[in-house]
Amino acid sequence: MAANFLRLLQRGGFQFHFSPKGGIQNSLQLRVSPKNCKGQKRNITGNPERYPGADFNYPKPNKFFWATPPRYHEKLFLRDVAKYYALTGIPALIIIMFINTFIGPAELSEIPEDYEPEEYEYHEHPITRFIVRNMMTPYQENYEKMCAKIALETEKMEWRQKQKMVNYLMQERGDGLYYYIPMTPTEVIDYSPKSDPDQ
């Protein structure tokens, strides 16, 4: 498959180029056979009186069979693309059809009294419900995690502001460079394990 794709690239396939002057032979860098011209059977650049909008006029060989490059590798490439699309697409479509016909979507109903629905019960399609039930975090959890993160960051912001103010004031007033370190008073510390070495 990859070798055919490389051959296609070397050949320069899928040359779709539109020329406003018209004519398929004007549009492509390579020649095409007359059967692929879709109604345009003559090379218009060779007939300036009839087709005055051509780019330029050069003598036209009065040929019927043109030497054209092969379109074979384009067909092979498209077949490969279709094969790989169908390999996963058709089973997926069949599975989804069976789920839609036999399981079906949910019905909208009022929330009963004193009942808090699960996160997946807020969705309609069974596949969505499956994904939400097994693979996703609830909306409320994300919301509250965000609120907690914001609260933590605001607290850090406030403490940084205070620290900067304290540093500035200490610099300005110069009345002492000491910080308050919390320490338990000695009256409440039990030194009995340390007072007797032969314990």
Partner: protein
């Protein structure tokens, strides 16, 4: 016979102006006695090859027993808006912003429904919509005006704070105009 006064009576369906709409009804699979044989064959060929199999499959799919289970509409509690938030309280601002976005979506849908009602009225009335759809049009105009005042030029990065500031500037301008008119 015609010479005995039997002219077949008035036209039954084909060119009866009272049943003009009904004459132009081509129901495949329905009553087509008022049509010509060509039309009958066309409709019958469509009906028996396309319509009947498709409706049979559709009804079979619909008749499949589906397990009925409920799903609910999520209800959000109202939190204090941006006008009640302290300037340093980022959590309050976050919640107010989320509420603002939810209200924005709701207002978009309300406006869409009002416009749909007006458009439906225009389509049904035709050239007389200028007269008969005035109520719908006025409702749409007021809804659109309110929406523009609140969410008008905020842009993609519009949030609750920007809307609040917009409201503030609008109220200041109204006050200034009122003072100008007084003096």
């Amino acid at each position: 016979m015609a010479d005995q006064g039997d002219d077949g009576g008035p036209p039954q369906k084909k060119f009866d102006m009272a049943n003009w709409g009904e004459a132009y009804t081509y129901y495949p699979g329905g009553d087509n006695t008022h049509l010509n044989p060509v039309m009958k064959t066309i409709l019958a060929s469509y009906y028996y090859t396309v319509d009947m199999p498709v409706t049979a499959i559709h009804d079979w799919i619909k008749s499949q027993k589906k397990s009925s289970y409920p799903y609910y509409h999520r209800k959000f509690r109202r939190v204090p808006g941006i006008e009640e938030c302290d300037i340093t309280d980022q959590v309050c601002m976050y919640e107010a912003n989320e509420q603002f976005q939810r209200d924005h979506l709701i207002d978009q849908e309300v406006l869409r429904l009002a416009r749909q009602d007006w458009m439906r009225c225009c389509f049904q009335e035709g050239d007389s919509h200028y007269v008969n759809c005035r109520d719908f049009k006025s409702r749409l105009d007021s809804a659109q005006n309110g929406y523009d005042l609140k969410y008008g030029d905020l842009g993609v990065y519009g949030n609750a704070v920007k809307a609040f500031m917009k409201q503030k500037h609008r109220m200041i301008e109204e006050r200034r105009e009122a003072e100008k008119q007084q003096s």
